[in-house]
């Protein structure tokens, strides 16, 4: 119940590294789990600029995931941004397709019901 109000709480954190390297970074996603972790790691891995991407749940009773990104020169934040944008666009298409198909199915069902009744009346 208390997990949902996140408007003011920071949920994304970048782990500070000693080396001044923007191509290798670990991002901490607070209050997230495998649901976003796996989907996002997949999307980030799909980027040819990425050398390594992986996520972990550091401890089962801590509600956060670590996402590590290492690139071939691109900024890790840019790569993460692309991953999130791609995942969002992908979901948009899935949603659009699903909604259209559900509508189509309902329409076809409506058309079929009278036919079924006719068939029952015939027999």
């Amino acid at each position: 119940m208390d997990q949902q109000d996140t408007s003011t709480v920071k949920r994304l954190e970048i782990i500070e590294s000693h080396r001044d390297d923007d191509t290798c970074q670990t991002f901490v996603f607070h209050d997230e789990d495998h649901t976003l972790g796996n989907a996002l790691a997949y999307m980030v891995l799909k980027n040819p600029d990425v050398q390594f991407a992986g996520y972990s749940v550091p401890h089962p009773s801590e509600n956060r995931i670590n996402l590590r990104i290492q690139t071939n020169g691109a900024q890790a934040t840019d790569v993460l941004q692309k991953g999130l944008t791609d995942l969002n666009k992908c979901c948009e298409h899935v949603l659009k397709t699903f909604e259209t198909r559900a509508k189509e199915y309902k329409r076809s069902q409506k058309r079929n019901i009278p036919q079924d009744i006719e068939m029952q009346l015939d027999t």
Binding site: D2, Q4, D5, E16, A39, L84, C91, V94, F98
Partner: protein, 348 residues
């Protein structure tokens, strides 16, 4: 058969396990494939087919998407699509044999038909609740003796109001709720859920507050009874199988998977409906059959099955789940822009 294509598109089912479980379609994974994310290509290959849509059951195919994303939808359906459920119970009187805390727990699990999109999350520490975030129900039942039932032995004839079901739950509008909602908009999904049993003289008098929540917090908020997927089975016969062997092969699979055709007076096996197979692997137990079949599942063909508890239609739940994932992306995109504009100070 292209081996690389098989590795990329199929999950092998072998005698003692499964093979090629992980997706390998990443840049640099296979020679001759780009494999970087391409929205146009994805949109071309992606497909949704609805097989069955009933009041609270939905079966559909989602084809051309990776397990990482399909699984996210499934997990969100189970744990992150918000619903309304009873969270606070104010017990004024309970003389039934069921203890207060057990009664409160039972009440919590009752599915409440209310559109969670019409409500807000209740603020932390708020006990009272407002019209925007709370639905109030009242349960006031007192059991009495039936006056003209002297020789009866059946409790139904002996007592009045001795079975407390969800039918007795009365919605109490808060603030302007009576103008926004009709009596039928806010109610328990089922009217026949047994909450407690009473005997003459016993009574239950309580008030309940329903709030918005998600399944991750408590399973009572989960909007689905089940939400699962399986991969479409793929069965290939490596050679012609006839007669006794064919009949035995047919028996190894679920009914309807293998059909026997009459070819020149012989019964010849044909794979008719691989979808009906349960992947039992029975044929691996027959030494003369086990090398004749190539058994696998299609990696990107998900057969989803969503069963709603009744709080919202299943197709709405799936749409909401997709929106939840989009919401996560947007939240973190916004935060990322914040972080980028004020980068954390580096340690020297």
């Amino acid at each position: 058969m292209d081996i690389i294509e098989d590795i990329r598109n199929k999950v092998q089912i072998t005698e003692h396990g499964v093979g090629n479980v992980h997706s390998t379609s990443f840049p640099g994974g296979h020679e001759g494939y780009t494999d970087s994310w391409n929205q146009t290509q994805f949109e071309k290959g992606f497909r949704v087919d609805i097989l069955q849509l009933a009041e609270d059951e939905l079966e559909f195919d989602m084809v051309g998407i990776d397990a990482a994303i399909a699984n996210a939808f499934r997990r969100i359906l189970l744990a992150e699509v918000p619903t309304m459920a009873i969270e606070k119970v104010f017990i004024y009187n309970n003389t039934s044999i069921i203890q207060d805390e057990v009664l409160a727990h039972r009440l919590g699990l009752i599915p409440i038909k209310a559109d969670p999109r019409m409500f807000e999350y209740r603020q932390q520490g708020d006990v009272e609740g407002t019209a925007d975030d709370t639905i109030e129900f009242q349960l006031q039942v007192k059991c009495t003796k039936h006056p003209n039932a002297k020789d009866a032995t059946d409790p139904d004839d002996l007592y009045k109001d001795h079975k407390v079901t969800t039918k007795y739950m009365k919605w109490v509008p808060i603030g302007n709720q009576a103008q926004i909602f009709k009596e039928d908009d806010l109610r328990p999904v089922n009217t026949d859920i047994l909450i407690a049993k009473l005997r003459p003289g016993q009574e239950i008098n309580l008030k309940m507050h329903c709030v918005k929540g998600i399944g991750k917090d408590h399973a009572k908020f989960s909007p689905v009874a089940t939400a699962s997927y399986r991969l479409l089975p793929d069965i290939q016969l490596k050679q012609i199988i006839e007669d006794e062997l064919a009949e035995r092969l047919q028996k190894c699979f679920s009914p309807g998977v293998i059909e026997l055709d009459n070819v020149d007076g012989n019964k010849r096996a044909r794979v008719a409906h691989p979808r009906r197979d349960t992947c039992s692997r029975e044929f691996f137990r027959h030494p003369d059959l086990k090398d004749l079949v190539e058994y696998s599942r299609i990696r990107d063909h998900f057969i989803f099955s969503v069963e709603s508890t009744g709080v919202m239609p299943p197709e709405v739940l799936v749409c909401e789940a997709i929106k939840v994932l989009m919401g996560k992306c947007r939240t973190f995109l916004a935060e990322l822009t914040d972080v980028k504009s004020n980068p954390p100070k580096k340690k020297k």
